[in-house]
Symmetry: C3
Subunit: 164 residues, 3 copies
């Protein structure tokens, strides 16, 4: 047997497995956002973000974990939680390159109402993440409501053009 | 080449690949629930569950595969299917440890209506599974409607606190 | 150390890793559909399809990438985009066998409205794909609205019966 051949194959496998782990880690990061904000877990929500992370939506612009935490503890978010809200992400289109990743997803916010639940807001999302010593963290989220204007289209187009 | 080094790396890879396979298997298990109940496939729905599995929702408490099967064949579920229903799961936050796994997800039930479809119910879900000789099976599902009360919040918090 | 033993284990790992990569590639393919059609990216939408691919829904039957492209550029689709539309896929149940794959998912189309967003259409989907020299491509999509008739049930049942 050619020992070097096996070692090369093992190295190749290690790289491929890391890619797969990274994709699932990014998916987990994005899917953790909803449970954090819908339970008012400001610390958990903030902990998903990199120190320099920016959440840029048409509702607000949050810079850094502390701003994320403050949003989760805000009166507005508390009112949504008291009504019953669900921030649901669709399964994203993920691209991982080295220590950077990008993902495109749809998000839906459902609110409890007398008749059941209503769809309050459907948005386009572009996420960026980086690998830190503590695991993957969010560095950027662009969030634009899908209302027929071009802003959401620009966000969704990242699914095809993401460069890291 | 250091043969022992390669063997250790192969063993490490086997463990990492198993983790990835387990995560996708758990995802598949959870995503199979909707197609089973929406087609009235009572046997398929029951087959997702462990013998000791419990589905605990604010609508009912089902203990074991036979109770799941009976629910799928019930008049209530038949009425939902006749109207047109879709039990949709969001991509879950999954934690696998050895032969146990936990997952947190949102579920939405859409019902067909004259104007299109309405969102009947949006819920928080905590799932637990175990590895059996026949593959992963559900051992527990907590399901609570998201209506502003604390029950759903407790369920969603499992995304951050799941211990197996 | 038994060299042949290690080589066998590496070969087994390569097959398992390929399975995992294939599953994530199929997921990415399916999740790319929404961003393509909601941004009017006809070329990107067409590029997801195999030359012989067929999109068979209760709204239309599209044969081949050119037909897909024409649909995305159609007046009807442009009107949906101008209103604000989101074609969201649920996380699918995926089966990969060699160079073929099948997946079952729910899709929801949300439309922007004065009150927020409405659920226009919830459907059952069965997808088939094949591995090409350029990566995985869609060969078939069956899409049936979930309205209580048996057509959507037949599509969803593929989650349990898919043979490739």
């Amino acid at each position: 047997m050619d020992d070097e051949g096996v070692e090369e194959r093992v190295t190749a496998l290690e790289n491929r497995v890391r890619q797969l782990e990274d994709q699932l880690a990014v998916m987990r990061l994005i899917n953790s956002w909803g449970p954090a904000v819908d339970t008012g877990s400001s610390q958990q929500a903030a902990g998903l973000w990199d120190q320099d992370g920016v959440l840029d939506s048409d509702l607000s612009r949050l810079e850094g974990p502390a701003a994320v935490s403050a949003m989760v503890e805000s009166e507005g978010q508390r009112a949504l939680i008291a009504q019953g809200c669900a921030h649901v992400q669709s399964a994203p289109v993920i691209t991982v390159e080295g220590d950077r990743a990008a993902a495109t997803s749809y998000s839906q916010v459902f609110l409890h109402s007398k008749e059941g639940h209503e769809v309050w807001r459907v948005s386009a999302n572009h996420w960026e993440c980086r690998r830190t010593p503590d695991g993957w963290r969010l560095t950027k989220r662009l969030n634009r409501v899908i209302d027929g204007t071009s802003a959401s289209s620009t966000v969704l187009a990242h699914a095809f053009t993401a460069t890291l």
